[in-house]
């Protein structure tokens, strides 16, 4: 297990170093998230729908779609000069490759969230107060599930000619339960409900994370077998 985690971390560090150098996916995702916040803000009539009702849905729609930008790049970067062959031919296990990619994607999604959540609070004038901690916990839990599912489908879609189209089509149905749980928990927190009321949603997110990470790690080797 230690070998798998150290190999996974090595791959994640490499992916993050590449993204740090190029910043293409991260900047695209952040710009997309911020523009989404602005568009949603002006698209709704604030006298008909309050910002506290609107914000959770907006937040999770934006995280879902901005996350896809990074997830697509995750395996795209490996295809440029068949770099993935160099990893697959190495002694590193397939599960470690998946986990490494998943960790890098998780960091990517959380980094986008760290910019988008404060922007949401400012734009929508949300009274976060004491719920900031639980909200961040929900964001991280949801990000784990999104990263796991997105990494698997990114690996599946990358070898196809319509990867940009195929990835959302494959991944979004599996994102739905995670996004429902996260949006419901976020709505209760922003609506001023006590944290204990979101405990069930948090447990559900934890359960999704365990199932998705385990299932996707086990399924990933089949995506790289020709």
């Amino acid at each position: 297990m230690g070998d798998i985690m150290s190999s996974a971390w090595l791959i994640a560090r490499k992916d993050l170093a590449i993204e740090f150098r190029t910043r293409t996916a991260f900047l695209s995702a952040v710009v997309f998230a911020l523009l989404g916040l602005v568009i949603f803000y002006f698209a709704w009539d604030p006298t008909a729908v309050t910002t506290t009702d609107l914000a959770p849905g907006v937040l999770w729609v934006i995280f879902t779609f901005s996350g896809l930008l990074g997830l697509h790049r995750s395996f795209g970067v490996e295809m440029a000069d068949h770099a993935i062959d160099g990893i697959l031919a190495s002694p590193v296990s397939r599960e470690a490759i998946f986990l490494g990619k998943c960790i890098a994607n998780l960091v990517f999604v959380i980094a986008v969230q760290l910019i988008a959540i404060p922007a949401l609070v400012v734009f929508y004038n949300l009274p976060l107060g004491t719920v900031a901690g639980p909200l961040l916990a929900i964001a991280v839990l949801a990000a784990i599930g999104l990263a796991a599912v997105g990494t698997l489908f990114s690996a599946m879609a990358v070898n196809t000619r319509l990867a940009e189209l195929l990835l959302p089509m494959l991944a979004l149905p599996f994102f739905v339960p995670i996004v429902i749980g996260a949006a419901q928990a976020t709505a209760k927190l922003i609506g001023g409900r006590p944290v204990v009321e979101v405990a069930a949603w948090i447990k559900l997110l934890i359960a999704f994370d365990i199932v998705f990470v385990a299932a996707c790690a086990l399924a990933y080797p089949f995506t790289v077998e020709d």
Partner: protein
Amino acid sequence: MSSTISQSGPPVVEVAALTRAFASRPAVAGVSFSLAAGECLALFGPNGAGKTTLLRVLAGLLKPTSGSARISGIPLPGGSLARSRVGLISHHTMLYDALSPRENVSFAARLYGVRDPRERVDSALRRMSMLERADTPVRSLSRGMQQRVSIARAMVHSPQIVLADEPYSGLDDSGARALTSLLRELLSAGTSIVIVTHNLSEGLSLATHAAVMNRGKFIRYESAARIDPATYATLYREALAAGG
């Protein structure tokens, strides 16, 4: 046609009746050979003959459809132990263009669990005359320089077996000489090599065995003792005409 050569030691690479098919079309069809330590098989053949597929099976990137392939006695696709003994050079560089040569080779060294990777990375890059450009992003290097880095990447963990698919592609004369010299040194040190090339003279200068492959099969296979480089080009053309 399949052949088994006389061994100068226990086989490091053993391939027996290996077939690899895509859908119903066999890309490699019933190929057999074996190589001992310090032996080199030069593999020639036209495009689409199945040479790259054979190398990808030996690298553990493809599963055999039938037959068997073994690396140091470990059946393929083996686990990490078999893959750790192989160094793969391809006409694709397998490099990340946003990273530097040092970062690319260091990443490979760490994937293979190389101890003291810094020294080994510098040594591998120096060997391919790339140490001076070690910190330049790969995307700003020429194709030939990228190929040199790719070779350093494949050699950094001192593999027992080198699989080289068109390793000379993109290399200039000095790069080609450096590669030939490196491969000779590896052979002397007991490394086994399978090299795929369209350049008969380069392949034969290293080979202890040579094979011509067409439509997934070996249509000629012989040991170096029986290879006359001067006449091999004619034999090669005749074999393709007869076997193709």
